[in-house]
């Protein structure tokens, strides 16, 4: 179909003010927070489910790829139009539709910003648990599509554990309901298929979320270590004792230094590692639990422990953690982040090998990780203008993925596969595993028009 005809049709469907098609706009919607860039052929900003449905049907009828996009903070290229097509930007669908506080549910449109929702809920004393570091910008739709994690997912689970139902636009424009407000819904568990499917199966236009009352008490501790091993051993020991804190976050020296420069939160720049441990729950027993944890830290040679005295001190610590990715942008212009996951007992060993990989490819690697989940975030630092360096970065990233798999883990914990990790899929899945997933994809998207080129690699057998 001619591009101009397509744009004309889209204008007819969603209105002139909701269609962008200039060279400037193609450049503005060609990226996310990963290294991948590729221009869409047109951008639409629908304001209703009906409009989304019309656009999807139109695209399907004319075999044009479509891709849903929220804030574009994706770390794996998931929201980049690698095969062109229509970018459906959902930021204008940002209403909270139903606040069913008593039943612990809210219904939102996909463009609602995660933190905006949390701020609204906070006024009622409630909380939506998932807390990706980018929560102040990211949208619920994007979080669900990528199945985003975050520090508190150690105790509360990832996004898909909190999305109980969706309104879904199918390839032919049909709008269907999947799941709902109940915890267990009759029939096939399609929610399990949709969570983390990266927009390859359909486009969600509403989500039913589970909310929780805010914890009565919160305790945040900053534990400072002279070696990464001792920090890692602390994590293993705490969970070994049967304690599941709300968070167990770790940062290495390079990250600490970058964060301190950016945020001046008081992290000691000479520490080898810091651990952010947060407890939440009832007031009763909180002090006793804190003491037990601090004991474990001491047994593992903690250098210093700082317990946040108030909300302001807590906010400071978390601002440092949540801005960590951006802060390493001060060290070198670019980074590539892996989010491989290993069994937490093997964290220290894995980290040592990550350091070796950095040395082998002559690349600085900063580490920040959800230690409790064994979820690594090695940030490989470089300058994309240096082509040789860029090639080494991709090789190192592949080797880290392989390392995680060798350690008994997997290639991604929360950032999605997108394009950046698509080659890693064959490290964990056989050709027939992938072929099975492709059957699911084909059932939802027979013409392969929803976010093509993502998640599932081309395999000989499956092709």
């Amino acid at each position: 179909m001619e591009k101009d005809t397509m744009i004309g049709e889209l204008v007819r469907l969603v209105g002139r003010e909701n269609v962008l098609s200039s060279d400037m706009h193609f450049k503005l919607y060609e990226y996310d927070a990963s290294l991948i860039r590729s221009k869409p052929d047109c951008i639409v900003l629908p304001t209703s489910t009906e409009q989304v449905s019309k656009v999807v049907k139109f695209a399907h009828d004319h075999k044009i790829p479509v891709i849903a996009r929220g804030a574009g903070t994706n770390l794996s290229g998931g929201s980049v139009t690698v095969r062109g097509g229509i970018a459906i930007v959902l930021t204008k669908m940002n209403r909270i539709l139903d606040m069913d506080i008593e039943n612990l549910r809210v219904v939102v449109e996909p463009g609602v910003v995660t933190l905006d929702l949390k701020n609204v809920l906070a006024r009622h004393g409630y909380l939506y648990q998932p807390d990706p570091a980018s929560e102040k910008v990211t949208t619920i739709g994007g979080n669900f599509a990528e199945n985003s994690g975050g520090p508190h997912c150690l105790k509360y689970g990832v996004t898909s554990n909190h999305v109980l139902g969706v309104e879904l636009v199918l390839y032919d424009g049909q709008v269907v309901q999947v799941g709902g407000k109940a915890l267990d819904n009759p029939g096939y568990d399609l929610m399990g298929v949709l969570g983390g499917s990266e927009g390859t199966l359909g486009i969600i236009t509403q989500a039913v979320l589970r909310i929780m009352p805010k914890a009565e008490a919160v305790k945040t501790m900053l534990c400072i270590y002279n070696s990464i091993e001792e920090g890692g051993n602390t994590v293993t020991a705490i969970i070994g004792e049967g304690i599941i804190p709300a968070t167990l976050e770790m940062m290495d020296n390079l990250t600490i230094k970058a964060v301190e420069e950016a945020y001046h939160v008081g992290f000691p720049t000479d520490a080898a590692a810091i651990l952010i441990i947060e407890l939440d729950g009832l007031k009763d027993g909180m002090e006793r639990l804190t003491e037990r944890i601090l004991d474990i830290c001491r047994q593992n040679n903690v250098r210093e422990i700082r317990v946040a005295k108030d909300q302001a001190e807590r906010d400071k610590i978390w601002a440092g953690r949540k801005g960590a990715f951006g802060a390493v942008g001060r060290l070198r212009p670019n980074y590539l982040v892996n989010d491989g996951t290993v069994p937490r007992t093997r964290l220290p060993e894995t980290l040592a090998k990550v350091v070796e990989i950095g040395k082998k490819y002559n690349l600085p690697i900063a580490n920040v990780f959800h230690a409790g989940d064994g979820n690594l975030h090695p940030l490989i630092l470089f300058d994309e203008r240096d082509k040789d360096e860029l090639a080494r970065v991709h090789a190192a990233a592949m080797e880290i993925m392989k390392l995680c798999v060798d350690m008994g883990g997997t290639i991604s914990g929360e950032h999605g596969i997108g394009v950046e990790k698509i080659e890693g899929m064959s490290l964990i899945f056989s050709d027939s595993d992938i072929a099975a997933m492709k059957k699911v994809k084909a059932a939802f998207d027979p013409l392969n028009l929803f976010n093509p080129g993502k998640v599932l690699p081309e395999t000989e057998k499956a092709a």
Partner: protein, 427 residues
């Protein structure tokens, strides 16, 4: 004529340090209303990159993105974890846009006037002339004043403030210090009362106040609009008068002027030098000296609060809140001191404002040219102020004062914190 490079070397490096994480978006007042990527600082950094590398034409549309979806409030800079100076890039693009498309003649004339220290302003007919000129044909209809209600724009001072005070004001009682006072255009032409309050308070603290009569515009509104050549004249004039080692501080009563003098001069001079402009080492040294001396007047007062005479209450309670101007809280990282000053005044019942550090939506000429976006941002601010139940809103920026007072219920007074302090000292 367009010079070869769009950005100086130091400025250009910013485009490569943006990792597109998007955290800036959460702090952009314009994005919240517009919801498009061109409104995001990230988006404009990416466009800057293409413009710099030659991959994008500076079309009318691109120009529009840089002018109509950015207040140059600096929120993105203050919140960028990678330390990217989007503001430097964006004003660079505006400069290029002005070279290509020219500048609105009314704006140009205004800038020339500001830069030439409003020479005619010293004559007696100035007040009348200005009111006629800018209150008449220029802003005769609401349409032309954009988001501002013309009837509620304060009248020009009968005489410019600088004409109403001696050039050197001697301290009362024991002499404890000596400052230069940069009063900026707004105080000079619109808010003479703020200027008199600053002088009055400092005098009573035992501070000698020097008010150089020939001072001009700080240059910030001018270079933010892309007219760098004119702003360079302002910078040079200001450096000559204010870069002096023999004073304790250069105090300012305007957040925007303060940010210009503190942060922008040295940067801009270095940038222009890299772009081939003749800038002397001494000028850069002078800019660094000035930067070290500049203090918002509330910062100076708070640091020397023991110099204040005993403050008396009059038995009445007044509920007061405070709005953080972007160029003070983001640009200069100042938030505690103005509040400290307010809380030290007997009878002030201080209440915190929800979203106190959110932009007021004014942005100088932004509110005139991009009324719709501006009004939406201002509405949030005004609603939050009402919510506090305050009788007085204070802020350290005459620009914010103009915007907020224009939209706020007339019953709520809008003052500089120093004005409340002056009232307490009069008792």
């Amino acid at each position: 004529m367009e010079k070869q490079e769009l950005f100086g070397e130091n400025t250009r490096e910013n485009i490569y340090h943006c990792i597109k994480c998007g955290l800036c978006i959460a702090h952009c007042p314009v994005y919240k209303e517009v919801l498009l990527e061109e409104a995001t600082p990230r988006g404009k950094v990416q466009l800057s990159r293409y413009l710099s590398e030659g991959g994008l034409d500076l079309s009318e549309e691109v120009k529009e993105a840089f002018f109509s979806t950015c207040l140059l409030c600096g929120s993105c800079v203050a919140n960028c974890p990678s330390g990217v100076h989007g503001d430097h890039l964006f004003s660079g693009v505006r400069w290029r846009a002005v070279q290509r498309y020219g500048i609105d003649w009314k704006k140009k004339m205004m800038f020339q006037l500001l830069a030439s220290k409003w020479k005619m302003s010293t004559s007696a007919w100035f007040g009348k002339w200005a009111r006629k000129m800018f209150g008449g044909p220029w802003i005769e209809s609401k349409l032309n004043a954009g988001a501002l209600n013309v009837e509620r724009i304060p009248a020009f001072n009968e005489k410019p403030f600088s004409e109403t005070v001696p050039e050197v004001v001697k301290p009362e009682g024991e002499a404890r210090g000596r400052v230069l006072y940069f009063h900026g255009c707004a105080t000079n032409y619109l808010y003479g009362d703020i200027g008199r309050a600053v002088v009055d308070v400092l005098k009573k603290m035992g501070v000698e106040v020097i008010i150089p009569r020939d001072q001009s515009c700080c240059g910030l509104p001018i270079f933010m609009s892309g007219d760098r050549e004119t702003s360079l004249r302002c910078i040079r004039d200001t450096l000559k008068l204010f870069s002096r080692p023999d004073v304790d501080a250069v105090v300012v009563d305007c957040a925007t002027c303060g940010a210009a003098l503190k942060n922008e001069y040295a940067h801009l001079l270095r940038d222009l030098r890299q772009l081939g402009e003749e800038v002397k080492d001494e000028e850069i040294q002078a800019a660094d000296l000035l930067s070290a001396k500049v203090q918002d007047v509330t910062v100076f007062i708070d640091a020397h609060k023991e110099w204040l005479p005993r403050l008396e209450g009059n038995g009445k309670k007044v509920r007061v809140t405070y709005h953080d101007p972007c160029h003070l809280v983001m640009g200069q990282k100042i938030s505690a001191q103005p509040r400290n000053v307010l809380k030290a005044i007997p009878g002030v019942e201080y209440v915190e404002l929800l979203g106190a550090n959110d932009c007021c939506g004014g942005g100088g000429s932004f509110q005139v040219e991009h009324a719709e976006t501006s009004q939406k941002i201002t509405k949030r601010k005004v609603d939050n102020i009402r919510e506090t139940g305050a009788q007085v809103l204070t802020t350290c920026c005459p620009g914010c004062n103009l915007t907020i007072s224009n939209h706020l219920d007339p019953a709520i007074r809008v003052l500089h914190p120093v004005q409340l302090l002056q009232e307490a000292l009069k008792r």
